[in-house]
């Protein structure tokens, strides 16, 4: 039996179908999880997809954080289950305090939608082991509130503990502190990133297939763990 990876759908999620497709292309079985259902249906890992959950009302991710399914996910993440947040999912992880800092309005105020080079800074998290350290990957980025902020002490701690997972290369699309595109928690099971690896898994629709490594990483991890 292949690993089962849950993909959450909130009202306003956009990229849940692409995320599920990426999970399938990586060789795992995607399992749809509904925001109002406080049940993880026995999945081995969870992806929080991009989009505009609850219309981004109040703050992006602020209301999704309190969805019934999130309570289960927060517990499971604290217990070591792999959890990935992409874009809006990253915002939800920060609002849930599973990851430090916050995502704020892009400093230039524009929505940025383009292909973006990233550097893999930490290739030892549960979601990045398929990559090499310092590997450069090309994936789409599309956000209006993707500017990562945290206080200086938190930023220093993230750097010194190797918890910066991805960095924007060459041109920072949103003003994020220290070009941070993605971070992880202490255990390396929770990863959040603003760019969209699930849109870079097939030559037909993506700028590369570099994003697939995220999903094969967790699969490799889950298979090894069995």
């Amino acid at each position: 039996m292949s690993a089962r990876v849950g993909v959450v759908t909130f009202p306003g999620s956009l990229d849940d179908v692409d995320a599920a497709r990426a999970v399938r292309l990586a060789g795992a079985e995607p399992v749809g999880l509904w925001h109002a259902d406080a049940d993880l249906h026995g999945v081995d890992a969870v992806v929080l997809p991009g989009g505009f959950s609850y219309g981004d009302y109040l703050r992006a991710g602020a209301i999704a954080r309190f969805a019934p399914v999130m309570e289960k996910i927060v517990d499971a993440a604290q217990g070591g289950m792999p959890v990935l947040g992409i874009c809006n999912g990253f915002q939800v992880l920060c609002e849930s305090h599973l990851l430090p800092g916050a995502l704020t309005r892009n400093t230039h105020l524009h929505f940025r939608n383009r292909d973006q080079w990233l550097k893999v800074v930490n290739a030892s998290t549960m979601w990045t082991q398929s990559y090499e350290t310092a590997q450069e990957i090309l994936v789409p980025v599309k956000n209006g509130e993707g500017c990562y902020v945290a206080d200086e002490r938190t930023l220093d701690m993230l750097e010194s503990d190797g918890r910066v997972v991805f960095r924007y290369l060459r041109d920072n699309p949103n003003g994020s502190a220290r070009d941070i595109a993605g971070i992880t928690n202490e255990r390396g099971n929770v990863v959040g990133l603003m760019p969209h690896p699930e849109h870079a898994v097939e030559a037909l629709t993506g700028p590369s297939t570099d994003g697939l490594g995220i999903f094969t990483s967790v699969l490799q991890r889950l298979v090894t763990a069995r």
Binding site: E95, T104, T107, L109, V149, D151, A177, R178
Partner: protein, 121 residues
């Protein structure tokens, strides 16, 4: 039934590009004397019964939990009418920005912004 107002503002050290955009539009419209704008949110809450200390505490917890994100924002709880006003304001003094409002121009406000929130080229 009593009314409570919760004002939520970005912390002074967090860059507010929306406020800056508003500030830069004002001189074009002839409002030349306004040098800095910070944009926030105002919540008007109606609560059951009188505004007891317990009820205020509940509002404060709601403000911490949902209405604001303590990582980037701070809040002030105010009761528009009644004695509670003073007590609440003492516990949650106005934000540093407000205290400095009028004195600090856009440049001074921006000087307090750490690298974390600075735009990069």
């Amino acid at each position: 039934m009593a009314r409570v107002v919760v004002d939520v503002m970005l912390k002074p050290e967090i860059l507010d590009p929306q406020g800056q955009a508003v500030a830069s539009a004002l001189p074009r419209l002839g409002f030349a004397g306004i040098t800095s704008v910070r944009q926030g949110k105002r919540f008007e809450l109606e609560v059951e019964g009188d505004l007891t200390p317990d009820r205020l505490d509940e509002v404060r917890r709601a403000a911490e939990t949902l209405l604001s994100n303590p990582v980037i924002e701070e809040f002030v709880v105010r009761a528009p009418e009644g004695d509670a006003d003073v007590a609440v304001l003492e516990e949650h003094p106005p934000t540093p920005f407000r205290a400095a409002a009028g004195a600090a121009g856009a440049d001074e406000a921006a000087a307090g912004v750490p690298q974390a929130a600075e735009a990069r080229p």
